[in-house]
Amino acid sequence: MSTNARSRSITVDALARVEGEGGLSIRLRGGKVADVKLRIYEPPRFFEAFLRGRSFREAPDITARICGICPIAYQMSSIHAMEAACGVKVEGALRALRRLVYCGEWIESHVLHIYMLHAPDFLGYESAIHMAQDHPQAVQRALELKKIGNELVTVLGGREIHPVNVKVGGFYRVPTRRELGEVGEKLKRALDLALETVRFAASLECPDFEQDYEFVSLRHPGEYPFNEGRIVSNKGLDIAVSEYEDHFLEEHVPHSNALHSVRRGHGAYHVGPLARYSLNFDRLPRVAQEAARSAGLGPVCRNPFRSIVVRAVETVFAIDEALRIIAAYEPPERAAVDVEPRASVGHGASEAPRGLLYHRYQIDEKGAILTARIVPPTSQNQKTIEDDLRHFVPAHLDLPNEELTWRCEQAIRNYDPCISCATHFLKLELRGD
């Protein structure tokens, strides 16, 4: 490893503590960042191809397998796209149950990331295991919270992994009031744990770093967004989900396997908790708004390192929302509405834990899928993550190599990147000319 001031070379074998594997290459020239290459996401092209010829009703089950940690998000985006294609809208208790299962997934995903994947960075630990030795209570809290989130998903989804109960039109089976009541009791305890999590996240020391992001998320007139709304940004965007492809495109980046998602005429944009929060703070329930303020957050947050706090606030929201839905729940007469196929194109977008997840399908009159397009949140964030690093690294060049590398990894983990589709094994190279 070179220690020459003008020439620095750092290699890290694998980018740890993100879902899957990935890597980063940064080249410096004369003390300035000359190039940043981030290759952490491979689009789900296998699934887009595999879906062709399958029935539209199979899309939720197939796409659920794209991501082990957020299957519900894929199911919801695909279901909404197919229902849009067939001209069906699901309302009432079934709509509420969809939000409820999504609450469960947010709880699980956010808690896992906050405690097991990201907190070790802030506290200076190599891994959550090392952290657990010194902070067992925090990690026990994580396990308990995640388990409750998982129970919520299971009671609605029918199985812990790859939920099978969700379908186009609704569910195969809806829960009884008693089944929901049981998990509701546990959610009350979870709310205390989540508020403690906000305090924990707020106590973590983080760099003073802000960017003027174009935040993009769903926005809905009456609720913090999960499944429905228009796609908006803080820089003038306000469109229907069906207009997504008129405003966003994916560009191949010559040097890498990455696809860069950009807003036409604008450039990089930012999806995920910071975007949702900054665009929808007024839609949060009071308990979540108060927790955010106590944590030192305003209605907008532009520091990606504070995303860990925002995830904790969203966890509070998800639990509060789940309790609200459970309290009001009356089992519907039917578990699903009828959906008949027609030749058309359908667009769907929902807010996965990591951000906006867009699906588009073209189906024929029998409901066979002709084409599929899936744009996950992590692929939409890749350019923004690179930009963050490009701006972050120069201010920290005084750090020794090991620490700078760690800070870069921490900066990438701000986005909780889900790179489970990535099969490439890459390195972190910080090379100076």
Binding site: R17, F50, I69, I129, Q133, P136, A142, L143, N150
Partner: protein, 178 residues
């Protein structure tokens, strides 16, 4: 619901059946479940570490079955005890999560949530791409793994430990049973 699991013998089959040989652990679990042995609880898991720690909560005797890469020839079977930390670390868990079996054991240890006995059976796979279905090598190993797990769980703890005092820093191939 608090079930007393102090006398429970638990098998957890781990993996992703949509990624070829990564489905091996869960295939073994299904065969064990079909045997319907009394006193044996069988679960399946995608291998995410925190849910593993919760899944074996309170259980006395735990066997994990999983696929691995880089441990030996395809279809070879490796038995690892929880105390053999280096061999556990050497397992390359072929899942989509970075927080797998070895991390789960480390986490449980740090939190005082280890069962009295925990053993891992790892089956060397060869194909981990998209799609369901095990390679022939792995498929042929399943019945033998089932037999080994049953034998392991029917032994008393002392008996199981006898003769296993090998060099924990030894190569992963040691204790290859097949």
């Amino acid at each position: 619901m608090n079930v007393d699991r102090r006398h429970t013998r638990l098998v957890i089959g781990i993996g992703n059946p949509d990624r070829g040989d990564d489905g091996a652990g869960r295939a073994v679990a299904r065969r064990l479940r079909d045997l319907g042995l009394p006193g044996l609880e069988v679960l399946e898991s995608d291998g995410e570490g925190t849910s593993l720690v919760c899944a074996w909560e309170g259980a006395h005797d735990v066997v994990l079955v999983d696929a691995c890469r880089g441990a030996g020839t395809p279809g070879s079977v490796h038995r690892i005890e929880a105390g053999e930390a280096e061999r556990l670390d050497a397992l390359n868990h072929a899942s989509t999560h970075s927080f797998g079996v070895a991390a789960a054991v480390g986490l449980a240890r740090a939190l005082g949530r280890m069962p009295s006995r925990l053993v891992v059976y790892a089956i060397e796979g060869i194909h981990f791409g998209h799609g369901e279905g095990l390679s022939a090598h792995v498929d042929h190993a399943l019945d033998e793994v089932v037999a080994l797990v049953v034998r392991d769980l029917s032994r008393a703890p002392d008996e199981a430990r006898r003769g296993r005092r090998g060099d924990p820093a030894g190569a992963l191939r040691r204790s290859t049973v097949r």
